[in-house]
Amino acid sequence: MRRLAHSAIAVALLFLMGCSFSRGTLGDEFNADQIATIKKGETSKADVLTVLGAPDRVLPMNGQELFQYYRYDAKAGSLLLILVNFARLNIKSDDLYIWFNREGIVQDVIFGKRTEKLKFQFWPFGE
């Protein structure tokens, strides 16, 4: 059985021209400690700007203001064989939303981190 596996690997390597792994990101990774410093009913807009910098989007929301921060992460893998190529590019985003009340104090914070489940893959079939 082991000999068969070794033979299969040897044959696979014979047809392998190369492989590649690439990664692209937009924005810095969110720092959980920095997000933890933002307290509902306490932190002001100026404090948020100091900690996180300018938001990626500012949205008016029923008389209130909403800051959105986002980050993208992309992982690409390719398997290059003599006759066949397989490639896959996966992209996910992290989003942080901060609601402010009319006085400019944080009313709510929502953070979603999808990128921790992002994987390098080259097999394009299936899920």
Partner: protein, 146 residues
């Protein structure tokens, strides 16, 4: 400025996907895929009950949305996800060792599955409506364009 950055990123994604497709085209056969975020299906959002489910309940199950827009009666929340599949076969590649020219007989397909899941909320952030956009889902990896 940030909106420009966002647009630039979208373009970069398209360029990257195109580069992968073009690079893979130098080989006889290639299969590529681009996925953005996890696919959301009807079963994933079956828990949303209009008039009852709050925004925070949805965030706990689906994560933070990609976009929030203001409407006169409340807000619209959008979750984006994409699944593009590309496949290509060059039958002429098999003849190259035996011919002085480099013949090409290429069959290829690309299926762009683009979906958005939208939830409309009232002014108290309780879900009023939900819907998927009706774009076709990505085709399987079959390089037969006819």
């Amino acid at each position: 400025m940030r909106a420009q950055v966002s647009r630039t990123f979208s373009q970069a994604v398209i360029y990257a996907a195109t580069a992968i497709i073009m690079a893979s085209g130098t080989i006889g056969c290639s299969f590529a895929r681009l996925t953005i975020n996890d696919t959301i299906v009807a079963a994933d959002v079956a828990f949303i009950a209009p008039g009852h489910t709050a925004f925070r309940d949805i965030v706990e199950r689906l994560g933070a949305p990609d976009q929030i827009r203001e409407t006169p009666d409340g807000a619209v929340v959008l979750y984006h996800f994409h699944d593009a599949k590309y496949s290509r076969v060059n039958f002429g590649y098999l003849l190259r060792p035996w011919t002085p020219i480099q013949p090409d007989l290429v069959l290829s397909t690309i299926g762009l599955g683009t979906e958005v899941f939208e939830v409309i909320f009232d002014e108290n952030w309780i879900a009023r409506q939900q819907a998927f956009t009706h774009h076709p889902s990505g085709k399987p990896h079959v390089p037969w364009p006819f």
